[in-house]
Amino acid sequence: MKKYIIKRIAYMLLTLWIVITLTFFLMHSIPGDPLAYMAKTLPEQTRINFYEKYGLDKPVYVQYGIFMKNLITKGDLGESIRYPGRTVTDTISKHATVSGRLGLQAIAVGITIGIVLGVIAALNRNRWPDYLVMFIAILGVTVPLFIIAALLQYTLSVKFKLLPTTGWGKFKHTIIPTIAMCFGSIATYARYMRSNVLEVINQDYILTAQAKGVSPFNVVRKHVLRNAILPAITILGPQIAGIFTGSFVIERIFSIPGLGSYYISSISDRDYTMIIGTTVFYAALFIVSQLVVDLLYGVVDPRIRVSGDN
């Protein structure tokens, strides 16, 4: 087990390095640079000084070498070029917690509701609860996030004045964004769980459990659920990724000071250090979540518990 995790971490670092390298050269190949917006209005010498200060006058591969050296030796992602004084690490740690809280809330709510709805649909196959859940699921996957968000804002805060439309700070601010964000997860999980439960229910061991005299509720709880959840864990990885991309949109709609808006503005600003910093952060988060998913497999299914030898 230890060996397996160490091996996985080595692969993760390799992946991360590839992501960093690709991003670094890609962003330098886009026309324009972080200082372009003011370069035209500055005197020649000031401009040159600025470029020298940020090392932008050097060839790209030299800049890459300097960046990697700082990252590896000091863990330093640098300072924002566009907004001097803000270090990239500070920006991430301050705003990622906001995004993280929202994302975790959305995933937790989405998975829980999705699983419950999926099981209900499967157990009532071809009856009204099934049709209702599948209707919700189709809405969830087809209707874009921002439409759901706008609808929720309109009904819950404008019409009924129950919750604030936008803003951040208190729990009540997170409710509408969470619902909007988890809608897709609910839909995906409900559909997945429905088909898994239908498959598991026809397995022989369910018959064994029934023949033992286990009550229908406990058959589902103890025998169906755990076996049906397994394939659903696979989609946890993509779901987490989906939550991140969704958060860019949601944070803008609800004026939430999350990392998403910084990420997007850093790209249009060509704020090189910010781009690399946030990309590294998102990539690392995604890779780690993949590892967690793989380890979760073993927890749920004893048959694929990893052994150290392979």
Binding site: Q203, L207, A211, G213, D301
Partner: protein, 341 residues
């Protein structure tokens, strides 16, 4: 001996898109205390459906146990049990072992937990107590290292060991009746013998009656007290083991007996096999269902279903050959099958 199980006029149908499949047609039989009854027949003749109907394990719909059917357990009508009683009946009064031990255990639960589950439900045991009992049961089914085994998952055990676990689960609450649905079919031959031996040992130990469903007469030869041959959802012949093996009267029983491989046969000789397939149970059956495959079929066989002829206290057969006007036919002996028993 008193009857622990009485089945009267059991009919089970499956409602499918193609139509109503009458899987079991008007079957009646009894099971005495401590008796072993074997239900024998080829695939799709209604053996398993009969067994599942006794535990009401058939999904309704598509299955339907017909109204006139009666299943009496110790005089109590099973078809009329409420949900609560049905749960206490399953596993405690009557329990079941299934065909394929590879798929009939939950892959994500330790075998110990699966044995303990029944004990916790029916005997209201606490966890510790149930665990000790599970170890005792595993020892009873001759499982080596029972203490370590209860912590293992099904995929860590071989097929024979898994079937032992299934037997331990089935017997855990001391049921009066054990339904064994092809318990040896998925196992290899040496393990088959071990499992059958184990079942007959445990039968004495637990005072349990057994209904053994199988397609292999060889399996039941030493084990069963009584044998019941089913064909197309009906019982065609029933009798004590000796009667079925030495004095079989139905041509289908003959065919089954002749298809048992035997040691005294020349090795190159081809094994007897019965031609044709069982009738489609969606279509209405006119006459004797076996007529189309029977070497001795007469005109009447295709027109009218045969009456049951009582040959002795236990021996009954449904065949027109028993009619006084029918030609006398002797059982053709193709192999050493008759030497068994």
């Amino acid at each position: 001996m008193s009857k622990v199980l009485e089945i009267k006029n059991l009919s089970v149908s499956f409602h499918t898109y193609a139509g109503e499949v009458k899987a079991v047609r008007d079957v009646s039989f009894e099971l005495d205390r401590k008796e072993t009854l074997a239900i024998v027949g080829e695939s799709g003749c209604g053996k398993t459906v009969t067994a599942k109907a006794i535990l009401r394990l058939l999904k309704t719909p598509p299955a339907e146990i017909k109204k006139e059917s009666q299943i009496l357990f110790d005089g109590e009508e099973v078809t009329k049990m409420d949900k609560k009683r049905l749960l206490s009946y399953r596993g405690q009064d009557v329990s079941m072992i299934f065909q394929d031990p590879m798929t009939s255990l939950n892959p994500t639960m330790t075998v110990g937990a699966q044995i303990m589950e029944a004990l916790e439900i029916h005997k209201k045991m606490k966890k510790k107590e149930a665990e000790a009992e599970a170890i005792r049961l595993l020892k009873l089914v001759n499982m080596p290292n029972a203490k370590e085994r209860i912590k293992q998952y099904p995929h860590e055990l071989s097929g024979g060991m898994r079937q032992r676990v299934m037997i331990a689960i089935a017997l855990s609450c001391n049921p009066k009746v054990l339904l064994a649905d092809e318990p040896t079919t998925a196992l290899d031959v040496t393990i088959q013998a071990q499992i059958i031996d184990l079942l007959s040992e445990l039968k004495e130990e637990f005072d349990t009656s057994i209904i053994l469903v199988t397609h292999d007469l060889g399996v039941v030869a030493n084990f069963a007290d009584r044998i019941q041959v089913m064909y197309a959802g009906k019982i065609v012949e029933t009798g004590l083991k000796e009667e079925i093996f030495y004095k079989p009267h139905h041509p289908y029983t003959w065919a089954l007996l002749n298809s048992i491989p035997s040691l005294d046969k020349e090795s190159k000789e081809e094994l007897y096999s019965l031609g044709g397939t069982p009738p489609d149970l969606i279509l209405p059956l006119v006459g004797c269902p076996f007529a189309s495959r029977c070497d001795y079929a007469m005109e009447i066989c295709r027109e009218q279903a045969p009456e049951t002829t009582i040959l002795s206290d236990n021996h009954k057969v449904a065949c027109w050959l028993q009619h006084p006007e029918a030609p006398r036919v002797e059982r053709p002996i193709l192999s050493g099958g008759a030497n068994r028993g």
